[in-house]
Symmetry: C2
Subunit: 269 residues, 2 copies
Amino acid sequence: MIISSRQNDRIKSIRALRERKERDASGTFFAEGERILRAALQTGAAFQLVVLAPDRLTKSEAALVDSLEEMKLPLLEVTPELFDLIALREEAQSVGAIISQRWESMSSVNETRRCWLVLNDIQHPGNLGTLIRTCDAAGGDGVILTGRSTDPYHPIAVRGSLGAVFSQRLVRASQADLARWLPGSGCTVVGTSPDGDINYREADYARKPVVIMGGNERTGISKEQIALCDQLVHVPMGGYVDSLNLSVATALVLYEVLRQREVLGSEPA
Amino acid sequence: MIISSRQNDRIKSIRALRERKERDASGTFFAEGERILRAALQTGAAFQLVVLAPDRLTKSEAALVDSLEEMKLPLLEVTPELFDLIALREEAQSVGAIISQRWESMSSVNETRRCWLVLNDIQHPGNLGTLIRTCDAAGGDGVILTGRSTDPYHPIAVRGSLGAVFSQRLVRASQADLARWLPGSGCTVVGTSPDGDINYREADYARKPVVIMGGNERTGISKEQIALCDQLVHVPMGGYVDSLNLSVATALVLYEVLRQREVLGSEPA
């Protein structure tokens, strides 16, 4: 049976996952689009329910649904119109899924390959998605969220991450949890701030793994965060503006970590 | 007289500037908030009308208004409630201005200090604002917009630029204009693409000034753009995702240009 009514209880519960309260309560989220679902599949995410519009599946979407069916996952078939009501993205697409959120606690993190990104009080899901994506691209281990940070499982964050919400490790921690964990972590803690006393290219990210501290989009890194840093770096500016977008400044530091660790051979390429 | 009615004709015409059609027709835009207006003032932007809510001015906003009054600019006083209706930003603020747009044509650009950023078919004003800000921070000359690009004078772009829409040179050009200009420009043309054959850190940005080609957020750099490039570079990826956000990838290249030109001493620091 193909569902067409927006009054259907399962449809209502999927749409409710747009709200953080519902995502937090259920420990799940709704991911949409083939690219994101393939990332979920490839990284072993826990699918709970697959939603599709069978009348509009592309060949490639149909192949994905076949793979998901082989895993004996429950399927929910809906009309294209109803799928468009569930989905947030404008581009027509025809497959989505309810997936379990995946979180680690600070105390369970006992090894760092290259680096962690800590984000405190980050506000915009689009920025968070981009930062998770960039951390993944730079070969980072994962993202630690402290304070009142937005949700990486917000639909806009999931989309902006291009699937990196599945590949990156995600940790939710208090400042106190983080402060307890850092001394035994074996990591150098680096904060980015316009007031940093070292050029970000001159800091040492190669001898030990790195924890990069990022702050709120408007107010930057907090005093509590600075107190935990071994080094405070700045990005030089050559024009009129006196600060960079959080995603941009963090990306520059992440890629400098990658460059130094590759150049200095402190880890396999 | 302090205006309180949203039916006032001048208020209606300010609000109409939210639409690109009106901005294009008038050659103006509405800039809001003290930080942005200070950037406009410092860079010699052409103010047409200053709008303020005198009952809510902070001390620092009042000082700014004094500076603007000394320039004999026309002032429009409104109630705080009406100012909130005009403004797009959520945070309470009390000063804004109608300012003339500033554009250059491709043929009038006859010198490059360090680099230009070309953006083709860029869609989101938030991305455009961030890119203009980053180009400024990296000491770039300005931004050349081709194709169906969004408007740098869109309120979200102006805000995201942190004032760099005033400090950066802005050029609107067709692909044909650009293609005619490039050979005589003395610049190396560098495109960024996941298919680029050179690591972005290994390309040479130091011997000549650089033109960096950026594409649409989803579809990337176009075939027409690639045909104009001397070098096609890629940013290495160390994780699951296979591409970076446009603003992030472009920032990495812009800052590599800055690094090489500083390190190699090809220009004054």
